[in-house]
Every structure is written in structure tokens, then in C-alpha cells.
């Protein structure tokens, strides 16, 4: 079970990394092209919203990697105190409690954003480059879902294997 979860998490990690790297290269090319085209007197209307949505998408890829690297921004005074106690039981409970909270929150948020996606599919319209607005809105359930999966993996690994190493804690 642990091996399966680790392998699955590795796939998500690579997917997020490649998503992030390719997004940034595309964003950079589009942004620079937009400036050059403007100087040449032509400025396609779709360039700017497409770039903004790529940044939006990359926020979720970055969030997925922040989850696996344990670098989310937090108030960590109590976490540090718990670490200092060196009590394995306390650290284990702390990790799993936070992982569970984050997973449940992300799951609810994914459901809420999926509902928004469904509404947009029914009442939305093509936004730019003939892309339907529901696909753009769909970035949210996709991105939050990706992060929810990362927290789910951390939770299961924590429950199965006891105290996780420092890098794998929430």
C-alpha cells in the first residue's frame, strides 16, 4: 500500500513540476510576444487573458509542490514547540490532524468549485480563442483536486507509517 501511494505521489510530483516549468516558459513567450506585437502595432485580444489563466493554473501546480515540499505559508510557532518536545506520538497526531484538516477543506472546496464549473457549463459562453468559459473555471476544481490528492497521500502515509520524516510532514 505504501509503495503504491508513494509511486502515485511521485507521478503527481512530476506532473506538477512539468506543468509548472512548461507554464512558465509559455507565459514568458506569450508575455514577451505581446509586448513585441504591441510595439509593431498589433495586439491580439486573446494573448493577455490566456497568459493570466496560465498564471492561475501555475498557482495550483505551485501549491501542489508546496504541499509535497512542506513549504506552505503558516503560523508555525506551536508546530515548532511540538517538534521541540520530540514526542513521537504528539508529532504523529499533529501531522495527521493537519493533513486531515487540509484534505477535508480541499475536498469541500473542490466540490464547491465543481458546482461552479457545472453552472458555468450551462450558462457560460466562449471566452477567448473559442475556449468555453467553463474550461477556464474548470482550472479551480482541477487544481484544488490536485492539492487535495497530495494531502490525502500525506495523510495515508502518516497513518500507515507512523511519524513521517521532517520533509513529509504537513
Amino acid at each position: 500500500m505504501t509503495k503504491i501511494i508513494l509511486a502515485f505521489d511521485d507521478v503527481l510530483e512530476k506532473f506538477s513540476k512539468w506543468g509548472l516549468v512548461s507554464s512558465l516558459f509559455i507565459i514568458l513567450i506569450l508575455a514577451v510576444s505581446s509586448i513585441v506585437l504591441r510595439w509593431m502595432g498589433s495586439s491580439p485580444m486573446w494573448l493577455e487573458p490566456l497568459t493570466r489563466h496560465l498564471v492561475f493554473l501555475s498557482a495550483f501546480f505551485g501549491g501542489s509542490l508546496a504541499t509535497s515540499k512542506n513549504v506552505h505559508i503558516r503560523v508555525d510557532l506551536l508546530s515548532k514547540l511540538i517538534e521541540m518536545t520530540k514526542s513521537r506520538a504528539l508529532i504523529w497526531i499533529h501531522h495527521n490532524l493537519l493533513a486531515l484538516f487540509c484534505f477535508v477543506t480541499c475536498a469541500f472546496l473542490m466540490k464547491a468549485s465543481y458546482d461552479f464549473f457545472i453552472v458555468e457549463r450551462e450558462f457560460g459562453a466562449p471566452a477567448f480563442l473559442d475556449i468555453h468559459s467553463s474550461w477556464l473555471v474548470g482550472i479551480i476544481p482541477f487544481g484544488i483536486g490536485l492539492i487535495a490528492l497530495r494531502f490525502f497521500n500525506l495523510l495515508i502515509l502518516g497513518l500507515l507509517n507512523g511519524v513521517p520524516s521532517e520533509h513529509n510532514r504537513v
Binding site: 509542490l65 506552505h72 503560523v75
Partner: protein, 421 residues
């Protein structure tokens, strides 16, 4: 019931849950108890995709990380040494200049201390500065350029407060110089007992250092000249800076490899950006809910009973923001606190640009304020010193920064001189 739910979420937040999850949970709970569909939170999240300046955040951060990973710090160190090394306290002043430059580009994310600390710390010690002074100076300088363009907190503040980012960039320049000058003055004072220096002013070395740093020198001109010359917008300046820094470091100086180093830099920089944007996404719902419920106005009404004028308000604001800066990360603080204080400050007649600079200066000081100023932990990790030791060494610098904060707060002209007719 709602009190139990909110208390539980706040307890989890204190235990160290990621801020984005706390914001999302608070927003969903608030919407649920108000009888609003939870999908409204997602609608608020999606608003981020229509923020016109959102592009500046990943691109300026990426540019800063590329600079930090390349050999630019070494080149800039030589350049600063050539220009300032001969002065009394020159080495410490070099440290102040370089850290300010890098923090402006990396957004005070701790990268400055990590990237430059190892370089500057031994040089300061070699020059005869005490370990306490050197540690304190580097720790403080880790967030020093935060008021200079194109710093990430300024951009984020502009997005949240709906204040023009170009104007914010200008507004921060003189207060930023004040902070640097205060630290510079202290460094010169501390240098008076150091052994006489061998550094001599050399035009040849100056020319050589300028030539070596020829690719980095135009960057601030690109950003400031481009924006204020009317050639590019802040968003376009971020794209050009990122593209320029990438091309220079990969193809001209060949400090970084396009296939080996750049993907790593992208992952490192955009992981931070992702963490910030996620908080921004999730907080949009919560802060809008608080504003809709007129929470700022209720706070204002309560404050009016004991705060009667602008100056007292600014004093209380500074005290409040210092506490916020001690407890919260700068990005979360901007996202959560700014929408609440803007209407209140407006009522007391505080200019939005002045408020922005006061806010950011306070949070800059928060980076070195015990017990949880993030620079203290980064320095503790980087220099292998106990956090308690860092608390001690940061105190003189903290007092100096508070002095500079008082100047910035009570002389609004320093911020607004560019905008007075």
C-alpha cells in the same frame, strides 16, 4: 454552533495548518452560516484570474531567483566594493546595498539571506565587525529592499488595495532610502573602532567591476526607466526583466544551464508563488465576506470612542501592524489585513499610498521581530546559530528600524513628495 466551528479552525491555524486551507475553511464556514452557496467561494477564487497585474508576481520572482542562483551576487559584491569599499563602514554599507537590490527582486522571501549570507558574513567578520553585529545586519538586511520596485509585497499590496502599482513603486523609494540610511549610519558608527582599512579608491578597479557587472547594471534602469518613461507597464517590465535575466544568465554569462538549472529555479520560485497565490485565492472569499458584513466599519465605530485624531490612529495602527508582523507572514497579512484597515484609514484621512508604505515598513520590521520573525529562523538555519542568539543580536537593529518607522509614519511628505502638485 458557528462559534465552535470558527474556534476549531482558528485552533488548527495556531497548530500550523497552511494559511490557504485556514482561509478556505473560514470562507466556506462563513458562507455556509450565512446561507450562501459554497460555490460562491469558487466564484471569488476565479476573480484572481482577471487581476491584470497578476503576471508580475511569477515573473519578477522568477527573475529574482535566477539572479540569486547565478554568479550575479559575486559580481555585484565586487562592484559595490569598488564603489563603496573605501568608505568607513564600507563593507557593511555594501551588505546593505546588495541585500536591498536582491530583496527588491526576490520579494523578501528569505532568498536574500540564503543566497548572500554565506558570501557576506565571512567578509564582515574578516573586516573586524563583531559576530553579533554581522549576524544582526545580515538578518535585518534580508528584508531591506522590500519598499523598492519591483518587490513582490508592493505588487501584492497594489492588487489587494486596488492602488496603482506604478505609484506605489515611486512612493516606496524615499522611505526605503531612509531605512537604508539609518542602518548605514549605524554601520559607520560601529566601524569607527575597526582597524584601518587597506581598501583604496581605484578607478581601474571600478571600471573593471562595472564591466563585469555590465549585464546586471541595466536591470533597475529597465524596470524604473521602462515604467516611468512610459515605455512599458509594470506587467510588461516584469516580462522583459524575466526574459532578459534568463537570456543573459543562460547565453551570455553562461552561469546557468537552460536544461539543468533553469527548471530547478522555476520550480523553486513558482512553488513560493503558488503558495502565495493560493492564499490570495482563498482569502478573496473571506475578505469580501468581511467587507460585505461591514466588519471594518464596526471596528471603526469601536475605535472612534478612544481614538480621536489621525496621529493617534497612526500610532495605534503601527502597534497593531507590528503585532501582525510578528505573528503573520507578510503575504498573508497583506491579503487578510489590508481590506480591513483601508476603509478605517480612509476615515482618518490617511493617504492610501502613505498607508501602503507604513503597512509594508511595519511588516518589514516584523521579519526581524521576535518571537516568530521569519528572518530570525532563516538566519538561525543558515548560520547554524540558536534562535535565541538571533533574538539578542536583532534588538539594536529592531530599535533602529522602529526609529525609521516613526519618521516614515509622521512625515508623510517622504512618501507623497512625488505626487504633490
Amino acid at each position: 454552533m458557528s462559534i465552535i466551528a470558527y474556534s476549531s479552525i482558528l485552533f488548527i491555524a495556531l497548530l500550523g495548518a497552511p494559511i490557504f486551507a485556514v482561509m478556505a475553511a473560514l470562507a466556506m464556514t462563513a458562507f455556509y452560516f450565512s446561507g450562501i452557496e459554497l460555490s460562491a467561494v469558487a466564484v471569488e477564487i476565479y476573480r484572481l484570474a482577471s487581476a491584470p497585474t497578476i503576471l508580475t508576481i511569477p515573473l519578477f520572482t522568477f527573475a529574482g531567483y535566477v539572479l540569486a542562483e547565478s554568479k550575479a551576487p559575486v559580481r555585484l559584491l565586487r562592484l559595490s566594493n569598488a564603489f563603496l569599499g573605501w568608505m568607513p563602514g564600507g563593507t557593511a554599507i555594501i551588505c546593505i546595498f546588495i541585500c536591498a537590490f536582491f530583496t527588491a527582486f526576490t520579494g523578501a522571501s528569505g532568498v536574500t539571506i540564503i543566497a548572500l549570507g554565506g558570501l557576506l558574513y565571512p567578509i564582515l567578520l574578516k573586516e573586524g565587525y563583531s559576530e553579533r553585529f554581522s549576524l544582526g545586519l545580515i538578518t535585518t538586511c534580508g528584508s531591506l529592499g522590500l519598499l523598492f520596485p519591483p518587490s513582490l509585497p508592493i505588487i501584492l499590496y497594489g492588487i489587494i488595495a486596488k492602488v496603482d502599482i506604478d505609484q506605489l513603486f515611486l512612493a516606496g523609494i524615499l522611505p526605503g532610502v531612509i531605512l537604508m540610511s539609518v542602518l548605514g549610519g549605524y554601520s559607520i558608527f560601529k566601524a569607527r573602532k575597526l582597524p584601518k582599512k587597506e581598501h583604496r579608491f581605484s578607478l581601474t578597479e571600478m571600471k573593471a567591476a562595472c564591466w563585469e557587472a555590465r549585464y546586471e547594471l541595466p536591470l533597475p534602469i529597465f524596470v524604473l526607466g521602462g515604467i516611468y518613461g512610459g515605455f512599458v507597464t509594470a506587467t510588461e517590465a516584469s516580462a522583459l526583466s524575466a526574459f532578459y535575466v534568463l537570456v543573459v544568465n543562460v547565453f551570455c554569462t553562461r552561469d546557468l544551464s537552460l536544461t539543468k538549472d533553469i527548471p530547478k529555479v522555476i520550480v523553486d520560485s513558482l512553488t513560493l508563488v503558488g503558495a502565495i497565490l493560493l492564499i490570495l485565492c482563498c482569502a478573496l472569499g473571506l475578505t469580501n465576506y468581511l467587507v460585505d458584513e461591514e466588519v471594518p466599519m464596526k471596528i471603526l465605530e469601536a475605535m472612534r470612542t478612544f481614538i480621536t485624531n489621525k496621529y493617534l490612529f497612526l500610532f495605534v495602527l503601527n502597534m497593531f501592524l507590528l503585532v501582525v508582523g510578528c505573528l503573520m507572514d507578510i503575504f498573508s497579512a497583506i491579503i487578510v489585513v489590508v481590506p480591513l484597515i483601508i476603509p478605517i484609514a480612509e476615515q482618518f484621512g490617511v493617504n492610501p499610498l502613505h498607508l501602503a508604505i507604513i503597512f509594508l515598513t511595519n511588516l518589514e520590521i516584523g521579519y526581524i521581530t521576535p518571537p516568530v520573525g521569519i528572518n530570525l529562523f532563516i538566519s538561525s538555519f543558515r548560520f547554524n546559530k540558536s534562535v535565541l542568539e538571533l533574538y539578542k543580536v536583532s534588538i539594536p537593529f529592531l530599535i533602529l528600524m522602529l526609529f525609521a518607522l516613526a519618521i516614515i509614519t509622521y512625515i508623510p511628505w517622504l512618501t507623497l513628495l512625488w505626487f504633490t502638485p
